[in-house]
């Protein structure tokens, strides 16, 4: 005869193993989905991928179509977006965490709004960009307007991630610095930012990766679907990889579906290499910590 305790333990062990199986199958399911997607893209696009695909301009003839202008447009836009958004986002986070009075209603209101902004649909930012940067500031349909719009889009994410990283800096470290007579700004540069850097980097890279995949807000501000020259300045008109890919998938010819798949491979490689850089940088900082 089983005692109550034995029965109880048996039940708990059973529950434990059931949950283990459920969670494991969830992750297997996600990985299978991802692999299917990758297989689909690669099997279609790999044959179209070549050096001339990367260096050619788009064309209405599938055999001559290339991705050069979209790739250049993406690199320009993302480069500018990083330059605008990371300093602004980290600066805002530093202000909110280190300078602002945490208890004032004004800071609380700011915090709440930043969190809410992180959830606003990207198309709304596109409309804002159209109204402010394209029309009001007369940047027209330029790379600059696109990068500024994307900056607005990812700024809340960078701020929130950086705030979390800054919060994780142990206060004894800050006190240790202050107790030596070191000023707040010097403490931020000497202790807080180096300690928070891995977290800030991770958050920023995730946000920038999101910006790289965005098409909707850029379509909204009027990024072109067909560009046959390489942009030379931030005020040139432009297109980006997701828009170019979208453009190709909407063509009726089957060849363009393959070209779109090749374009997706290029986008994926670009994204993964950016993430790789981020991981290398983060590990470099973390090694310095340990």
């Amino acid at each position: 005869m089983e005692t109550f305790q034995q029965k109880n333990i048996r039940k708990r062990k059973l529950k434990n193993s059931i949950l283990h199986i459920v969670l494991a199958s969830i992750i297997v399911f996600s990985i299978i989905m991802l692999l299917l997607l990758l297989y689909q893209v690669f099997s279609e696009g790999l044959s179209r991928l070549s050096w001339s695909f990367i260096t050619s301009m788009p064309s209405r003839f599938p055999d001559r179509a290339g991705i050069a202008s979209a790739l250049a447009g993406s690199i320009w836009t993302i480069g500018l977006t990083i330059i605008f958004s990371v300093p602004l986002g980290v600066g805002t986070a530093l202000y909110l965490e280190e300078y602002a009075n945490q208890k004032s209603w004004w800071t609380k209101l700011l915090q709440l709004n930043i969190a809410n902004l992180a959830g606003v649909p990207s198309i709304v930012y596109g409309m804002l960009g159209l109204a402010v940067f394209v029309k009001f500031l007369h940047f027209n349909r330029s790379i600059l307007a696109g990068a500024l719009t994307l900056t607005l889009l990812i700024l809340p994410v960078i701020i929130v991630a950086s705030q979390e990283a800054i919060k994780s800096v142990p206060s004894p470290l800050k006190e240790g610095s202050y107790a030596l007579g070191v000023s707040k700004w010097q403490t931020i540069v000497g202790v807080i930012v180096p300690y928070a850097a891995p977290g800030i980097l991770t958050g920023s890279i995730l946000a920038v990766s999101r910006a790289m995949g965005e098409a909707a807000p850029l379509i909204m501000i009027g990024a072109a679907g067909y560009i046959s020259f390489l942009p030379k300045s931030p005020l040139d008109s432009f297109t980006v990889l997701p828009i170019q890919i979208f453009n190709w998938t909407s063509r009726p010819q089957a060849e363009f579906a393959e070209i779109a798949a090749a374009g997706i491979i290029v986008l994926l490689v670009l994204l993964l290499s950016m993430n790789a850089i981020a991981i290398v940088l983060r590990n470099k900082y973390q090694n310095r910590m340990d």
């Binding site: 004894p172 470290l173 800050k174 240790g176 107790a179 030596l180 070191v182 000023s183 000497g190 310095r288």
Partner: protein, 286 residues
């Protein structure tokens, strides 16, 4: 119950006898509390954290080149008190302080007293070792470098001198450029002391500096204090009455934000004037 009481009494007697035996210090010198030896004079300090009246009319004289121990139960205000001396409370919102703290005859609480200058003169070591996640070398020169010293030769000299003073040089001289986090707890704490000494302070504030350390590391740091006493004025907050008895010249007993009694350590432990002091040092409450 009675047995426990007896045990405590015995323990107490033991502490007292050790006190008297282990004191190699020059008593005539300690008794000399004439004006020119006062390093820090705190007058009528009242301190509020929001609505919490944390320090009530605290008066204390801290003697130059002496070790002053602050004892008392948790939450009695002793840590709060030493944080007023280097104005660390300024980093906490919603605090209010009244009274004066004179360091060498200058009121450090005056708004025009520069907090950077104050903290260069009054260093602080914390409860848990808090080395920066940088190399040993970088930890020591952090302060001097932020205060504008760039000369490599001078920085090297400061590192060697500070680490020697903190009795850490021999243990780390071959690995100055490895991470400070690889050191043991006791070594980390001595590194924090070296970091403090690197900015050339006159006063060292220690907030329970050995409470996170094992007995051997504690002993090393206590020995260090005896050496540092020659050059610096030391204020130490401690939970351990034995420690206060072992190392300090003067002791102040805090209770509920007030100083109940202060004076020579030997007197305070052997013939306390206030019954509450006696209760505390005999372990009747903690």
């Amino acid at each position: 119950m009675i047995e426990q009481e007896e045990n405590k009494q015995q323990k107490n007697d033991r502490i007292k006898s050790r006190l008297i035996l282990n004191k190699p210090k020059n008593n005539e010198e300690s008794i000399n509390t004439s004006k020119e030896n006062i390093k820090i004079e705190c007058k009528d300090i009242d301190f509020h954290y929001g609505t919490n009246h944390a320090l009530k009319n605290v008066n204390l004289q801290i003697m130059e080149n002496r070790i002053t121990a602050l004892i008392g139960p948790s939450g009695c205000g002793k840590s709060t008190f030493i944080r007023t001396i280097n104005r660390m409370y300024e980093h906490v919102v919603d605090t209010k302080i009244e009274g004066t703290i004179h360091l060498d005859k200058e009121n450090v609480l005056a708004p025009d007293y520069d907090v950077t200058e104050l903290r260069k003169k009054v260093g602080m070591v914390f409860q848990k070792p808090n080395p920066f996640p940088k190399s040993i070398y970088e930890n020591v020169i952090y302060g001097p470098r932020k205060h504008g010293l760039k000369n490599k030769g001078q920085l090297d000299l400061i590192v060697e001198r500070s680490l020697k003073k903190a009795a850490l040089w021999d243990e780390v001289k071959d690995r100055l450029h490895t991470s400070a986090l690889g050191l043991s707890g006791g070594q980390q704490q001595r590194l924090c002391i070296a970091r403090c000494l690197a900015v050339d302070p006159e006063v060292l504030l220690m907030d329970e500096p050995t409470s996170a350390l094992d007995p051997i590391a504690t002993l090393k740091i206590e020995d260090l204090f005896q050496a540092l006493r020659e050059e610096y004025t030391i204020v130490i907050v401690t939970h351990s009455m034995q420690q206060a008895a072992r190392i300090s010249d003067n002791t102040a007993f805090f209770l509920n934000g007030e100083i109940i009694e202060s004076g020579l350590t030997d007197d305070l432990f052997t013939k306390p004037k206030d019954s509450r002091t006696e209760d505390y040092i005999t372990g009747r409450f903690s």
